[in-house]
């Protein structure tokens, strides 16, 4: 995009961006009946933030209980509920909805579309989420409590041996599933169908590419999750025996079906973050993304492989050796395309002209810490070693590195990157940097030592532990509290922007940023592209 050209669009748009032209409905009907992708995006983001804090509070309960050996604050049954609901809320309530929210905000703007392809369904997708989580969280206040069989709800602990919350959990998951499937359909159709003229496939920003593939994964595996929870429901309440050997079924069958969903699910939670990082790194390196095509191919390969690795979560279940070998090899293979992505980011920085505003700081932290998480994932893939790692804190360390310092850091980076576009004001760079350093240090205090307690033999999902783990756990818990407190800073930064406190942002916002979203004024007008923009140059 030539400099003059983007300037001319900018001034033209600023001229029209008078709020009076925007015909924004107000109040109740604006938020509840909306068909506007930006409003719906905002709803998703705010809901997900609320869920992050809900799930985070549960993590704080977990860390408080594990601060010292012995039972201190909660009984074991409630502890299991906390672990379970923490996992569920974080996965389905915080990370996934944030990504859908970001897609709602950014995808139409990035591809030059007027809105999402199916705007009413979009609204429906969102409002199903609060409904689903009301059902799920209401079980915390019921007799017998919330689901307590882990976010993976292995049968028969979740069927025959579970409490009444199972049915609520099952129907909540159904609603989440419907919501995700409709959300994904909407995104994929928007991208296929509403690209501005000239926005060819190989010009799509990577965030859009990663989302196409994510949406495909969602549509492919959420129905499988719906299927498996349905079997849980019938096993518990209608006497079927899918997961009961006495009737010819097998508890391990549950795990196969669950992980057929579950493994692609973890890539659902990381691919859009890859997309965000791929937007941020070139912007702050002031240099085009290295290896655009290979990024697309790598993403697609990861998605493909994700369907044939699921049983690496089940190495200890007693599969035949041949199956163990197969799943070990396929799992190890995922390191290759993921490595390509990491190398491409590094090569993008190489010989750039970098500056280090908050989004870039989080992106750099993402690259380092996600890679650490990926490398521990690779260790887990080595089956004989996994026998020792499985179900210990080593696994907990692995997945928090990829989820918290991966997915969540990616999200935070994206929010800092785009919030000037959403609100029209710059966030406070000072607070942003402060948030970054506090988070970086505390998150490593929180999750790094978990590798070692895990290796030394501390199982996960236990409310109490042997004395040799005491010092490490106290340290971890302190890291956890600090990390939790650091996120209050984040909320403060975000709410300052929402309340329009801060420097006014330009349309371009970041010197090195490229793409259609940086050509509309900040804040982006309520309806972005009334007529399709012209696409001139590459990605």
């Amino acid at each position: 995009m030539s400099q003059e050209h983007s300037q001319s669009i900018e001034s033209a748009n600023t001229h029209h961006a008078d709020d009076a032209h925007d015909h924004k409905p107000q109040g109740f009907s604006r938020w509840f009946y909306t068909t506007n992708h930006k409003d719906i995006g905002t709803l998703y983001l705010l809901f997900a933030l609320l869920m992050l804090f809900t799930g985070g509070s549960m993590a704080m309960v977990i860390r408080a209980e594990l601060f010292q050996p012995g039972l201190q604050f909660v009984d074991p049954h409630f502890f299991n509920q906390m672990t379970t609901v923490h996992g569920l809320v974080m996965v389905f309530g915080a990370i996934m909805p944030t990504f859908v929210g970001l897609a709602n905000w950014m995808v139409p703007m990035m591809i030059g579309a007027p809105d999402m392809a199916l705007p009413r369904m979009n609204n429906w997708s969102f409002w199903l989420l609060p409904c689903a989580f009301t059902i799920l969280l209401s079980t915390l206040f019921m007799e017998g409590g919330a689901p307590a069989a882990g976010w993976t709800f292995y049968a028969p602990l979740s069927t025959t041996y579970s409490n009444d919350s199972t049915a609520f959990f099952v129907f909540a998951v159904h609603l989440m599933g419907i919501s995700s499937i409709m959300g994904a359909m909407n995104i994929i159709v928007t991208i296929f169908n509403l690209r501005a003229p000239g926005m060819t496939w190989m010009k799509l920003p990577l965030f859009v590419w990663t989302w196409i593939i994510t949406a495909f994964l969602l549509i492919a595996v959420m129905p499988v999750l719906a299927g498996v929870v349905t079997m849980v429901l019938t096993d518990k309440y209608f006497g079927t025996s899918f997961f009961n050997a006495a009737g010819g079924g097998d508890p391990v069958m549950f795990q196969h079906i669950f992980w057929f969903f579950g493994h692609p699910e973890v890539y659902i939670m990381i691919l859009p973050a890859f997309g965000i990082i791929s937007s941020i790194v070139p912007a702050f390196a002031r240099k085009p993304l290295f290896g655009y095509e290979s990024m697309v191919i790598a993403t697609a390969s990861i998605a493909f492989l994700s369907f044939i690795v699921w049983a690496h979560h089940m190495f200890t279940t007693g599969m035949p050796v041949a199956a163990e070998l197969f799943f070990m090899y396929t799992t190890m293979l995922i390191a290759v395309p993921t490595g390509v992505k990491v190398f491409n980011w590094v090569a993008t920085m190489w010989r750039g002209a970098m500056t280090f505003e908050t989004p870039m700081m989080f992106a750099i932290a993402f690259i380092v810490l996600f890679t650490i998480g990926g490398l521990s994932g690779l260790m887990l893939a080595i089956t004989p070693a996994d026998f020792q790692y499985q179900d210990t804190y080593f696994v907990v360390a692995h997945f928090h590195y990829v989820l918290v310092t991966g997915a969540l850091f990616g999200i935070i980076a994206g929010v800092y990157f785009w919030i000037p576009k959403w609100t029209g004001v710059m966030y406070s760079e000072r607070l942003g940097q402060c948030h970054f350093w506090c988070s970086l240090i505390s998150v490593n205090m929180l999750f790094f030592p978990m590798h070692f307690v895990g290796l030394a033999g501390m199982p996960r999902r236990i409310p109490d532990y042997a004395l040799q783990f005491a010092d490490m756990n106290a340290f971890i818990s302190i890291g956890g509290f600090l990390f939790g407190l650091s996120q209050l800073l984040f909320v403060w930064v975000v709410f300052r922007c929402i309340r329009r406190k801060g420097e006014k942002a330009t349309a371009q916002v970041w010197e090195g940023a490229e793409g259609l979203e940086w050509q509309v004024p900040s804040p982006a007008p309520y309806h972005t592209f009334q007529t399709p923009p012209e696409i001139k140059s590459g990605h």
Binding site: P69, G70, T316, V321, V336, T355, F356, T371, P384, F452
Partner: protein, 385 residues
Amino acid sequence: MKRYWLLLNNKCNWIFILLVWSAGAIANAPAGSAYNMTRGATELSHKVYNLHMVIFYICCVIGAIVFGLMFWSIIHHRKAKGATPAQFHGSLKIEILWTAIPVLILIAMAIPASKTLIAMEDASKADMTILVTGSQWKWHYKYMEYPIEFYSLLSTPRDQIENNAAKDDLYLRDVDKPLVLPTGKKIRFLVTADDVIHSWWVPDFAIKKDANPGFINETWAKIENPGIYRGQCAELCGKDHGFMPIVVDVKTPEAFDQWVAEQIAEQEKAKAAEAARGLMTKEELMELGKTIYDTRCAVCHQSGGEGLPGAFPALKGSVIATKDKPAHIHMVLFGKPATAMQAFGKQLTAAELAAVITYERNAWGNDTGDLVQISEINAALSAGE
């Protein structure tokens, strides 16, 4: 745009180097340290340990190279230093290179891993066999070659768990009756469960096998040295998953044979004593009953008999425990299929059963005054379900 690069000076690099170094140092600490995987007590566990270390080092090297390049770039290619951005955006050669090299590294890892795995999964030609059964929340061991079987339960007192007493060294790691095994023999473990999935994990043997209800998984170990090896249940199995330790006491073959003989003799004696036992007094029943209740029943029904609403029913004031005595006996002896309530008829002796039922019918204000005697239990047992 303000530039905050000052925050990211060379210190960053140092932090990173420190991190890698400390990771290496911690992980390399002497075997049996509190920070690394154990080397274990079998040939295979050594192999697993070595595999783990090799892969760990490879990962460290990969990390060092990737992050090293990145931080080099961050330090030298910053705008504040007047860098002007290059405009290259791809190179097929280098892309192929960094696809191919990882593939080679992976192949190098996969070969030893496959070999170790295949050896671990071959449980044939064993010298002896143990049937390991998990249930909520205890382990049951059955020696297939000897008439010996028993339950093994956590022995840490409640007081320590609830912080009312000082915790001892073996807090949560000790059981009332460990599994006893000989050295130098190939021992096959058949692992299964009665209710939910558990997982039998002894790190020193590099064994972790899920105990799936209705199926039997096989695994094996050949232990080099006598000693006491400790592990834990490694699959979430409900409320007391964290309180299900495993202890294996490994003896020399001679000492093991002696232990077997002692066990058999003791069992005979206990059987004779029970058969000779006549009527028990209320005091005897209540005392024994309380011990049994607190160790075996309180995990679910709670020590005050109040249960956990929604999960485990209260026995205090319940219909069964205050009125219908035959139903009460039947429930305890045969359990209730497809619920967490197990059949205790096979787990406890007749005297213990009589005592615990008596206790339940008279404790916590359930003052029925009923006594249950051994003869009633035996009658109910022989009547069957």
